[in-house]
Amino acid sequence: MAITELGSGTAGDAPALDGGGRARPRRFLRAVFHNRKATAGVVILLIIVFVAAFPGLIAHKDPQAAIYPQNLGPSFDHLLGTTQLGQDVFAQLIYGTRLTLVVTLVVSAIATFLSMIIGVTAAYVGGLTDRALSVTTDIFLIIPVLPLLIVLASYLPPGTVSLIIVLCATSWAFQARQLRAQGLSIRNRDFLAAARARGERSMYVILVEIVPTMTSLLAASFLALAVYVVGFAAGLQFLGLGNSSQLMWGTMLYNAHQAGALEAGNAWWALAPGAAVAFLGAGFALVNYAFDEIGNPALRPVRRRRARASS
């Protein structure tokens, strides 16, 4: 036990987060599974992916059919009760998973890509481009996100596509700054000088030479964004800026809140999708937290250090 951790620990001088991704993936995966937080997070995410992929295996009722008695509390027949219209809440929760997860993943992927392009370009190209991109990033970091999201969303027709667009447009800044810092740190390495000497174009150098060295940092960015997107997407829909006929956890929350579900006796209609959002966010957050610990040896639990010192 101590030996394997010693192994991953000595990679500390070139932490996994900025290290070249070549020989490390296996060691990295092993580190993930030695970390209890990461394991918990991965299990949560796997459960949610399974539910999103095969909702029919878990819920056997039609989520949209308004055919049951209205405003029921939880019972054996309706695990989480029914809605004001007489739909089964449990079926809605299960069938709402897929779209919620898809929106989160799509937004996080696009926003990670945006922040990568902006951050790395600023770092690599430098000069005026860097100045302009950095100021833009700083501005987007300061402008409060939710008010901007609300204003943008109220101009667009409610729906998944609008949701994805506004979330992507507002969420890239923090990661762009991180990636710029990372880009600056490798900017003067020899392999980039070699690429420049070969006469490669900037975009080629960025995408083919720099980005592959950042895979784990990009993964960390993706996870951090996912934590945040889950909450903001649900928050926007909860405020009524979604399409309440599209089945997602956020729209369930909106419908439940509008119907006063907490006081009407079917509190789980509101609490269950809220808990689901928290569960998904916590899954991403746990993996991300562990990522930080793995990538930054200084933050690891000290028990390991003692083990190393005594061995």
């Binding site: 300061i142 928050g235 028990r303």
Partner: protein
């Protein structure tokens, strides 16, 4: 003073960017949202209507640059026109501001103190059981959506236990005054929203504080302090935490945007009539002038706090004062 002047430039640029975003959005978004909204403004004060038309690009036959300059001038002199209720946007905002200011101000300070203390303590006893439980717990809770915490607290404390009221800022029929009973009533109504905000935001400061603190605890001057036999609390707060808190101070202002976003959702969940609830009513009424005014106001609020944090950093950290 280069640090402060650089931050002042960013202040101006961000304000300008927010104003420009406000001006551009109605012009580039598909559909005729703004036109539809402004078509309902019949028989209002022509000057106010004109200000709105300039902002939203409706019925304006002037050059876009001229319109832009006129819009900037209107904004800088505080003319944001009327909202859908025919009330000036600025006075609408000002009338709701005290409720939000009290709620967000108090909870943010409490959350910052709790979160930072948790970070200091867990870094000091690093590797202890406390360190193993407190920061991850606060971190996970801080990733919970604020409205989920709010709904849960409403369900437990207002619906099931019936200890605390929900909705509004004071009981229906109570007359606002400075009597103890009225103040008690206000606090009673503010308690659940405040707890929700503290629960969700305290963890934002813990994680970074703990990490900074771990770094500073390894510094030689901390060892020096120990060697001199200084009391633990002196080393913990005056030597280590004082230095570790600097990045958190900058983070404080950055996180404020997030906290304000949280307050919008909280006020909506609790029907607490502050700026956030006003924002929500703006979305349901499709009240674009009100929403864009609020967006600018929120940006300005964050900017002012960022600037205060920058001055505080400059005062506390000699390195930023070097030319």
């Amino acid at each position: 003073m280069r640090f402060v002047s650089r931050r002042l430039v960013l202040f101006v640029l961000t304000l300008w960017a927010a104003l420009t975003v406000n001006f551009i959005i109605p012009r580039v978004m598909p559909g005729n949202e703004a036109q539809a909204v402004l078509a309902t403004y019949k028989g209002v004060n022509p000057a106010a209507l004109h200000a709105l038309e300039v902002e939203f690009g409706v019925n304006v036959h002037q050059n876009i640059v001229v319109a832009y300059l006129e819009y900037l001038r209107n904004s800088l002199t505080g003319q944001f026109g009327l909202d859908a209720q025919r009330v000036p946007v600025v006075s609408e905002i000002m009338s709701k501001l005290p409720w939000t200011l009290a709620l967000v101000g108090v909870t943010t300070v409490i959350a910052f103190i709790i979160g930072t203390l948790a970070g200091i303590v867990s870094a000091w006893w690093r590797g202890s059981r406390l360190d193993g439980i407190l920061p991850p717990f606060l971190f996970i809770v801080s990733t919970f959506p604020v409205f989920f915490v709010a709904l849960l607290l409403i369900y437990v404390f207002a619906v099931v236990l019936n200890w605390l009221p929900i909705g509004s800022n004071y009981s229906i029929g109570a007359t606002p005054s400075f009597s103890p009973s009225f103040i008690g009533d206000v606090l009673n109504h503010a308690l659940l929203p405040a707890i929700s905000l503290v629960v969700v935001t305290a963890g934002l400061w813990t994680y970074s504080m703990r990490n900074n603190m771990i770094t500073t605890l390894a510094e030689d001057y901390v060892k020096m302090g120990r060697a001199k036999g200084l009391p633990t609390s002196r080393i913990m707060f005056d030597y280590a935490a004082r230095n570790a808190i600097l990045p958190n101070l900058t983070g404080f202002a950055m996180q404020l945007g997030y906290v304000l976003g949280g307050s919008i959702l909280i006020e909506y969940t609790f029907s607490y009539p502050g700026l956030g609830y006003l924002f929500y009513t703006g979305t349901t009424n499709h009240d674009l002038p009100l929403m864009q005014g609020l967006f600018l106001f929120y940006t300005l609020a964050v900017l002012i706090c960022v600037l205060i944090a920058d001055f505080a950093t400059a005062a506390l950290d000699p390195r930023t004062r070097e030319p």
